[in-house]
Subunit: 201 residues, 4 copies
DNA sequence: GATGAATGAGCTTTCATTCAT
DNA sequence: TATGAATGAAAGCTCATTCAT
C-alpha cells in the first residue's frame, strides 16, 4: 500500500467519523427536543442550535423534519429491542415472558425521553401521522419487538402467548402513560408496584 | 312586579340563553377540531368558523385556546362520568366494578372524538401540560371517575379495589391507545377481545 | 330610515372604503415591486413594507403571492383596454386600426411599470407560469384587447385585419422589448420612429 | 526538446483539455437549466449535478451564477452569428437581407432552449440586468449580428437598410415571444406564416 | 483544483391574539 | 359584546457562496 493511498484512506475515514459524530449530535439534540415538544412543537432552529450547528446544516443529514423524527424513533426502537433481548437472555427458565415484559416496562420507566417519544409512537402523532414509508419502517421494528416478547412466552410453554403479550404491553403502556401524566397519583399508587401486581397477581 | 321589570327580566334571560347557546356551539366545534387536529393543529380561526362565529367572538367566552381546550376536556369528562355511573347502576350484584371498567372502556371505544381528546389528556399535551389551574380542575373530575370505579369494586366486596381500579384503567387505556395507532393489528388481536380476556381470564 | 339604520350604513361604507383603499395601496406597491423584480424576485415582505402594512396584512386581501400578481396584471390589462378603446373612438375614418395599434404601443411606451409587467405577460413568467385558472382569466382579457384592434381594422374595411393585428402587435412588442433592453440603441434608432415607419412605410 | 520537456508539455495539454471539457459540460448543463428555469429559478446545485460535478467545482470556472449565465448567452450568440452568416452566404442575389432575417427567426424558432435564453436577453433579466462588464460583452456580440444583417441589406442595394434591419428583428422577436406564450393562438395564426407575410407582403 | 458540508440570510405563509369600530 | 382585519413573530426549508480538507 502506498503512502498516498494510506493518506487518502485516512482522510476519508476522518471525514466519515466527523460526519457520523455530527449526525449523532443532531439526533441527540432532536431526541431531547422532540421528547419535550413533540413533532409539531419542536423546531428545526431549536434542534440545530441545541446541536451546536446552523439551521441549514441539518438538511444534508436529514432532508426534512419528519425524516429526522423518524431517525430518532428508529434509534429509540433499536435500543428498546436490544434491552428486551438482553433481559430475555438473562431470564430464569420459565420466566422469559415475564422478564421480557418487565424489560419493556423498565426501559421506558427509566428513560424520560424515550417514553415521551414512545408515547407519540403508541399514541399517534396527530392528524397526519408520519409519511407512509416511515411509518411502515417503524411498524416493522415494533413488530420485531413484539415478536421477541411473544417468542419468550412460547419458550416458557405458555399456549396463550399472543394474548399475554398484547395484554402485557397494553398494561405497561397504560401504567406508564398514567404515571407520566400524574393521573396515577390520584389513586395513590406507583406504576412499578402496579405492574408487579399485574405480573404476579 | 311592573311590566317594565318583566320586560327587563325577559330580555336578560333571552340574552343569557343566547350566551349559553353560543358557548355550547363553540365548545362543540372545538371538540371536533381538537379531536381531529390536536391542541397544536387546531386553529382558533377554524374553530370559530366551524362554530359559525367570527374569530374575535370566541375570546369573550374563552380567554385563550388553552382555556377552550380545557372546557372541551371538562365536558368530555362529565359525559364519561355519567356513562360510568349508569353502568354501575345497572350492574348485577357483585359485578359493579367490572361493569364500571367496561363502561370506561366502551365509552372511549365508541367515541372516536372523545378518545382522541382523552389520549391528549392521559398522554399529556406537551412540555408544560395545561396551566396549573386548569389541570387541577380536570384532575378533580378524573378523581371522581376513578373514585366511582373504586367504590364499585368495594361494593362488590373486593379488598384490593384500588389495585383493580388502577390496573383496569391502565389496561383499558393501553389497549385503546394501541388499537388506535394500529399497533394492535401487529399482534392480530382486537382491543375488545383482549379487554374481555383481561376482565375474565 | 331610522337614525340607527343610517349609522349602521355609514359605518359599513366607511369600512368598505377603508378596505378598498388599503387594497389599492397593496396593489400599487405590488405593481412597482413586480415591475422591478418580477414574480420571483419581488417579496411579500417588500411589497407589504412598500404599502405601509405588515406582512400578514396582505393575506386577507390576497391569499397568495400569485393571486396578488394576477390582480396586478388584471388591473394593467383593464387600463390597456380602456386606453385602446379611447384611441379607436377618437380615430379619423379609415384610420381606426392604425390608431388602435398606436394606442397599444403608446400605452406601454409611456408606462415603464406596465411595460415590465406586460413583458412578463407576453414573455411568460418562467417555468411554472401562473396557475391555470389565473392564466385563463388573463388570456380572456387579452383576447378582448386583440379583438378590439381587429374590429378596428375591419371597420376600416381591411380584409387582412387578422394579419395586420397580429403583425402590428408583434412589431410593437418587439420594438418595446428591444428599446427597454437597450438593444435598439445598437442600431441607432428609437422605437417610436421605427413604429411610425412600420405603420406608414 | 528533451523527453522531460515533452512529458511536461503533454501533461499540461492533457490538463488543459480536461479543463476545457469540464467547462463545456458545465456550460451545457447550465444552458439547459437556465432555459427551463430562468436565471433565478435555476440553482447552482442543480447545474453542477446535471454537469456531473460537485457544487464547489463550478466556481473555479465561473465566479458567480451571473458569470455562468453570461457564458451561456455568449455561446448562444456565437451560434446565432454563425447561423446567420451561413444563410447570407447561401442567399440568392438581392435576397441577402431577407435571408438574414429569416435566419434570425429560424434560429430561435427551431431551438427552444436558445429562444428561452434569448428572451431573457432581449427582455432583460431583472432590475439591474447583468453586471455592466458582462452586458457590454454581450452587446458587442449582438452588435455584430445586427451589423451582419444590415450589411446584407446594403449588399442588396437597400438604402433603408438600418430601418429594415431594426424593424425586421423586432418583428421576429415579437412573433417568437407571442408564439411562445401562446398569445398568438388567440389570433389563430402561426408565427411562421406571419413572418412570411411580413417579409413578402 | 476538487470536494461537498456549512453558513446564515432569506423566502412564503400561518396564526394566537389584539383592538378600532 | 361582536366584528374581522392587523399585528408580528415564528415556522420549515432553500440556496449562492465559502472553506477546511
Amino acid at each position: 500500500m502506498s503512502g498516498f493511498t494510506r493518506t487518502v484512506q485516512a482522510r476519508a475515514e476522518r471525514m466519515e467519523r466527523k460526519h457520523a459524530t455530527r449526525r449523532e449530535r443532531i439526533v441527540a439534540a432532536a431526541k431531547a427536543e422532540f421528547a419535550v415538544s413533540g413533532l409539531n412543537g419542536a423546531t428545526m432552529r431549536g434542534i440545530a442550535k441545541a446541536a451546536g450547528v446552523t439551521t441549514g446544516a441539518v438538511y444534508p443529514y436529514f432532508a426534512s423534519k419528519e425524516e429526522l423524527y423518524a431517525a430518532v424513533l428508529e434509534g429509540s426502537l433499536t435500543e428498546l429491542s436490544a434491552h428486551i433481548r438482553a433481559r430475555i437472555a438473562e431470564a430464569a427458565s420459565g420466566r422469559a415472558g415475564a422478564e421480557a415484559l418487565r424489560g419493556f416496562f423498565d426501559f421506558y420507566r427509566e428513560r424520560t425521553d424515550e417514553l415521551a417519544l414512545g408515547l407519540y409512537l403508541y399514541n399517534g402523532i396527530g392528524p397526519s401521522g408520519l409519511a407512509p414509508g416511515l411509518d411502515r419502517a417503524l411498524n416493522a421494528r415494533l413488530r420485531d419487538v413484539f415478536g421477541d416478547i411473544e417468542q419468550a412466552f412460547l419458550a416458557d410453554g405458555r399456549d396463550d402467548a399472543p394474548v399475554r403479550t398484547a395484554n402485557g404491553i397494553a398494561q405497561a403502556i397504560g401504567l406508564l402513560v398514567m404515571e407520566r401524566t400524574r393521573r396515577l397519583k390520584l389513586l395513590g399508587r406507583s406504576a412499578a408496584e402496579l405492574f408487579d401486581r399485574y405480573l404476579e397477581p
